[in-house]
């Protein structure tokens, strides 16, 4: 308002007067190490066109790490497409959840609902529109976003505990509905699957027939099986990561962090925080929708069990295990959880007996008796114990743990220097 006359003033005086007059604009420059000291004259165009070098470096490193997963996961025995797909998909889920929980500070216990909705939308797109993944993904993101808008509009009227309870209740409601009334849409307990002779309108337009031998999702002719599925997920993960990065660095992200640290003060300053929280909620719901769509892409099947509260709890655990509020933490958490889930679920008593064969017989019996409840079917027990341990001892997650170790090392060496 009072900046408009200043924009008309001579260019030399403009920077000095505008800068103190609009303190919130400094939010654009919180990574301003490489900014010129002489500010450009006009206000709105002052943002750098390119993201700062650190962010580009981080994205490139992340991309390299993700795309070389088939190589560096080899020694861990995890370099097969099915598992790596899950890493990428749940990485997307956790990164999106982190936008709400880590940045904005709203703990949602119902995010699995959006994942399930995304899956159903994608499978329906495969059934009715086309086996191409592009319309499926777009449709899933859109529908999950609409769901998030509706649920978020109501849930965000309260914060804190109320919010967690409300989201949990809505997710449970979606789960119940998917199993009961909505069976025409969700196919109930059997799960929704793509059939050979579904009326795929777009495919029928292009190829003349909608019937296929094996219904499998494809990307303009490239079938989603094995590694192609993983590459698709990896590309989506990279895009999702980059968007999350930009959101974190943007003034909007600053606003979200402001809401997390003190929402009351934000309100007193004069911001209406509700639209911001709603957008954060919808964006993270869309991320969950994308993850759900990808689950359907790699395996064209959707079931209601994806919406259960344990699934919502799992994504919370991924985020806090990696480190809520950090960029890489949620992905790290997702990879770790899915990796150990894979290992632990595959173990059985007989494999345990082999693993502990170096022990004497009685000791082996004892060890196997203690360990066996935690493996195989008992993976959820391990998950619950892990959940408690992380929250009790390391609420900042692994990222915080690494930071502490680094600080301890640095602090230790610093002490030595001072003593000398």
């Amino acid at each position: 308002m009072d900046t408009t006359p200043q924009n008309n003033t001579p260019q030399t005086t403009a920077p000095q007067t505008t800068a103190p007059a609009e303190p919130q604009r400094s939010a654009h420059y919180h990574h301003s190490t490489d900014l010129p000291t002489q500010l450009p004259p006009r206000g709105p165009d002052m943002r750098p066109l390119w993201p700062p070098k650190v962010d580009i470096l981080m994205t490139v490193l992340f991309a390299v790490a993700v795309f070389t997963m088939p190589i560096w996961l080899q020694p861990f025995g995890a370099a097969y497409p099915d598992l790596m797909q899950r890493f990428a998909i749940f990485g997307i889920f956790a990164i999106g959840f982190n936008i709400l929980f880590g940045l904005t500070g709203y703990l949602s216990f119902g995010h699995a609902a959006f994942l399930g909705v995304g899956s159903y939308a994608a499978v329906w797109s495969f059934k009715l529109l086309s086996l191409n993944i592009v319309p499926a993904i777009l449709l899933s993101i859109g529908i999950a976003g609409l769901f998030a808008l509706a649920i978020g509009y109501v849930s965000l009227r309260r914060s804190g505990i109320y919010f967690a309870i409300l989201t949990l209740a809505f997710a449970q409601m979606c789960y119940n509905l998917a199993y009961s009334v909505l069976t025409p849409i969700t196919n109930g307990e059997t799960g929704l699957r793509v059939l050979r002779d579904d009326p795929r309108v777009l495919d029928a337009l292009v190829t003349g027939t909608s019937e296929v031998a094996v219904p499998r999702a494809s990307f303009f002719g490239i079938e989603m099986s094995g590694m192609t599925g993983f590459w698709t997920c990896a590309v989506c993960l990279l895009i999702a990561f980059y968007i999350a990065l930009r959101i974190t660095r943007s003034p909007f992200g600053m606003m979200l962090r402001g809401i997390k640290s003190n929402q009351t003060r934000m309100n007193y300053i004069g911001f209406n925080t509700r639209p911001y929280t709603l957008v954060a909620f919808v964006v993270s719901g869309m991320y969950a929708g994308l993850a759900g769509a990808l689950l359907a892409v790699v395996d064209p099947l959707a079931g209601a069990e994806r919406m259960q509260w344990t699934a919502s709890g799992e994504v919370v655990l991924m985020t806090i295990l990696g480190g809520a509020g950090t960029l890489l933490g949620p992905f790290l958490g997702a990879v770790l959880i899915k990796y150990f889930e894979n290992i632990f679920s595959a173990l059985s008593d007989s494999t345990l007996f082999q693993a502990f064969s170096f022990l004497p017989d009685t000791a082996r019996e004892v060890v196997v008796t203690i360990v066996s409840p935690f493996v195989g079917e008992g993976w959820h027990l391990t998950l619950g114990v892990l959940f408690m341990l992380v929250v009790i001892f390391l609420p900042g997650g692994l990222t915080e743990g690494f930071r502490r170790i680094a600080r301890a090392l640095r602090g230790g060496s610093g002490k030595k220097e001072s003593s000398q």
């Binding site: 929980f101 505990i161 409601m173 919370v316 008992g378 027990l381 619950g384 959940f387 408690m388």
Partner: protein, 338 residues
């Protein structure tokens, strides 16, 4: 008229369970300021107290079945029957009422152990972490029960005497033909009794008065030289007992399985939100109210108009209440606002 009365009764016994769990939730919330996501697990543990007692009482030995003479036949006879004859059989028949005696001390102990062993370290930590740690605890308890008792539901039946139905219209002296299972009536009565006892404890005893004072202003009570923490521990134990009793007595109505707790927890949270967080009468009233609403929504006449309404009615009511009265029906300003 009969149908309406029947639905009200149906709703009341389900509402009784909701009210008992919501009461415990509100108690822990008001005293300790902790949101206990493991409260549903306490309900489930209570139910499995009964199951455990039943499997303990029916420990059996194989004996020759004398009634079959064509071939060697064996049957399982519980030790209690072998030792005490008909008295033993009677004890087994009355397992659910007897389990109340077991549930109370067991749940009190479990509650105190939880509070002292885990939850007390979380008073000063953010609500999100309290939610997460109790959520983890709920998962662990649920999985342990699954490990011990298996994933299948285990049926428990009410005593023979009250297994039938009561003729309500006869008792109330109204016309018509209305019968209702005895055990559900007993459940309703006992849930009212438990609620009454808890309210009497809080409102009529000195101990309860101090607890209420602590809920209102913890620091002042501490300045007066009262160890309020110990009383809050006891209150947590009481909340655990209330949830446990709700579960133990509910076993003949709903066959207990290991995930029964979470289903009830989610609904009870909605009940607390609707009733108004921190308000004990609100929790009880909303529990019965939502139970009745749910039973009316599951009438076939209603379902034919709005299919699936029975599954979501509670959540819809919660949405409407939150949009119209964000603090819940009986919530007060300033109570647990964050």
């Amino acid at each position: 008229m009969d149908a309406i009365l029947l639905q009200v009764l149906n709703g009341l016994d389900k509402g009784g369970a909701y009210a008992l769990i919501a009461l415990g939730l509100t108690l822990t919330f008001g005293t300790l300021g902790v949101v206990n996501f493991a409260h549903g697990a306490l309900f489930m543990l209570g139910a499995f107290c009964t199951v455990a007692l039943q499997s303990l009482l029916t420990m059996s030995t194989r004996v020759r079945d004398e009634s079959i003479t064509f071939f060697e036949a064996y049957k399982e006879v519980p030790y209690l029957v072998t030792w005490f004859g008909d008295t033993g059989a009677g004890i087994i028949d009355w397992v659910v009422p007897i389990s109340v005696l077991v549930t109370i001390p067991v749940m009190l102990l479990i509650g105190v152990i939880f509070e002292r062993g885990l939850i007390r370290f979380f008073y000063k930590r953010p609500h999100a972490e309290q939610i997460l740690v109790t959520f983890g605890l709920a998962v662990v308890l649920q999985e342990l029960i699954k490990l011990w008792f298996g994933a299948n539901p285990i049926p428990v039946s009410a005593p023979e005497v009250v297994r039938g139905s009561a003729d309500i219209s006869d008792i109330l002296g109204i016309g018509g033909n209305l019968s209702y299972p005895w055990w559900r009536l007993i459940y309703l009565a006992s849930s009212m009794l438990i609620i009454g006892v808890v309210f009497a404890f809080l409102n009529l005893t000195t101990y309860g008065m101090v607890v209420r004072a602590g809920m209102a202003d913890r620091e002042t009570v501490q300045f007066l030289g009262i160890n309020i923490e110990r009383r809050f521990t006891v209150v947590f134990g009481i909340a655990a007992v209330v949830a446990g009793l709700a579960g133990a007595l509910y076993t003949p109505i709903l066959t207990p399985n290991y995930h029964i707790g979470m289903e009830f927890l989610v609904l009870s949270f909605v009940v607390v939100v609707v009733g108004g967080m921190g308000s004990l009468p609100g929790a009880v009233a909303a529990g019965f109210l939502l139970g009745i609403l749910q039973s009316f929504a599951s009438l076939n006449e209603v379902k034919s108009i709005l299919p699936g309404i029975d599954q979501i009615i509670i959540y819809l009511v919660a949405v409407v209440v939150l949009l119209a009265r964000p603090r819940g029906l009986l919530g007060r300003k300033g109570v647990m606002e964050t």
